[in-house]
């Protein structure tokens, strides 16, 4: 079995990180509410402006981030069973997926800006750059979290499973916030 019996309930990683996830979650709920409210007030404008976005790119971004979440979950699982090499490999795999998302996002922005779809173009574009931008910032911080996890896994000293799980929890947060942003910006019509 995986080191901890099924019956024992445990908090994955530092409970402190969960405080962050919940707090930041509520902050994002507030951002999303502001977006949905503005959108419902001028549905025509939002719908028209939304045509600048390619739903397929959004789906691709989401699939990449879901894959990164999967690999970081595998990393935690492997580390828990003492498979540090596999865990490190999965952490690097997560980083590559994260990097893929980063490049795809940057490309999407550049193309959009070239088409005149800038931050100040209209209300939808402002929200689009704001939400994707603040999420992008969380992604960049996520690379720091992954680096901390890799450092833990590779250090000769006893590995702290708690720190690895804490970093993974942060990374999943990037993922689930994106799932909501994807639905709000790309899917909602």
């Amino acid at each position: 079995m995986n080191g901890r019996p099924e019956a024992v309930r445990f908090v994955p990683g530092q409970p402190d990180m969960w405080a962050f996830v919940l707090f930041e979650g509520f902050v994002f709920t507030a951002y999303f509410t502001a977006y949905v409210f503005s959108r419902a007030r001028s549905p025509g404008l939002f719908l028209q402006s939304q045509a600048h976005l390619d739903l397929r790119v959004g789906v691709f971004n989401t699939l990449v981030l879901l894959a990164s979440s999967w690999s970081v979950a595998r990393c935690v699982q492997a580390a828990r069973e003492g498979g540090y090499r596999a865990a490190t490999r999965n952490a690097f795999l997560t980083m590559s997926f994260g990097f893929g998302f980063l490049v795809s996002k940057l490309r999407e922005w550049v193309v959009a800006i070239e088409h005149g779809f800038t931050f100040t173009a209209d209300e939808f574009s402002s929200f689009y750059y704001f939400l994707t931008g603040i999420h992008f910032l969380h992604l960049l911080i996520g690379f720091v979290a992954l680096a901390v996890a890799v450092h833990q896994l590779r250090s000769p000293a006893p590995h702290s499973q708690e720190i690895v799980e804490t970093c993974a929890t942060y990374w999943h947060t990037i993922d689930f916030l994106w799932v909501l942003i994807f639905a709000l910006l790309y899917v909602m019509r």
Binding site: Q14, D16, M17, V27, A30, A34, F119, S126, L137
Partner: protein, 234 residues
């Protein structure tokens, strides 16, 4: 009363009293918070100054008198960082960054509002400039709080003395991110991202108020826990 903690208690009570007085002066006396719309026309700005002329002048006079209290507040928080197992550089950075923050963070706004309120008959175009200067210096000053929160975050996360819980370290990150979120206030004159907007003001203010209440509570717990005994002076 534990004699060894008197300086800490002076600092803590200064923090509590100051934040309440500050809230009162900004929200009730000067009525500059919640902020008015950035999209006012020059004529409306002149009227805005006229409506709260005495509140601005007397309210900011009190802000100027008590403004220096931030020094003892920042010193108390710098001391809490000094108690952590991290380098002293963190405490000193915090002290200097927040000492600097007082100026653009509130005093410049006070000077601008006083100058605006003093001469109601000034050219409306210039009144409009004063109005922008006041609110953008106040809300658009981001770097000091951004870097200050990050310095505090790193200190808390690396600390092994348990001065503050780790979740407060992460909360510092939330506060730092609000300073990024406020940046569009320099670009938009209306909507959610303007200086009075849902996102740039209301949500950020919610985070800031939570953050402030949390660190005041945690600081109080730290002081209650501190055990100086009768040993040598630290």
């Amino acid at each position: 009363m534990n004699d060894g903690k008197r300086e800490l208690w002076i600092g803590w009570w200064t923090l509590v009293v100051f934040y309440n007085v500050y809230g009162l002066l900004f929200f009730v006396v000067t009525r500059t918070q919640p902020p008015p719309e950035p999209s006012l026309t020059p004529a409306q700005v002149v009227q805005w100054f006229a409506e709260r002329r005495h509140g601005l002048i007397y309210g900011y006079a009190f802000v100027f008198i008590v403004g220096g209290a931030t020094a003892i507040m920042n010193a108390t928080l710098a001391y809490s960082i000094r108690r952590m197992s991290v380098s002293r550089a963190f405490a000193y950075s915090y002290l200097v960054i927040y000492a600097l923050a007082t100026l653009p963070g509130m005093l410049i706004m006070g000077v601008a509002c006083t100058v605006g309120a003093m001469r109601p008959d000034r050219d409306p175009a210039l009144m409009s400039w004063i109005y922008d200067f006041a609110f953008l210096s106040f809300e658009g000053t981001m770097g000091v709080f951004l870097i200050g929160s990050l310095v505090w975050m790193v200190a808390v996360l690396l600390d092994e003395n348990g001065v503050f819980p780790k979740w407060f370290g992460y909360l510092n990150l939330c506060n730092a991110l609000t300073e990024v979120v406020v940046a569009p206030a320099w670009i938009f004159k209306n909507g959610a991202f303007a200086w009075n907007g849902t996102i740039a003001w209301w949500i950020n203010m919610g985070v800031f108020v939570t953050y402030t209440i949390v660190f005041l509570t945690l600081l109080r717990r730290m002081i209650l826990r501190e055990d100086f005994g009768t040993g040598a002076l630290p």
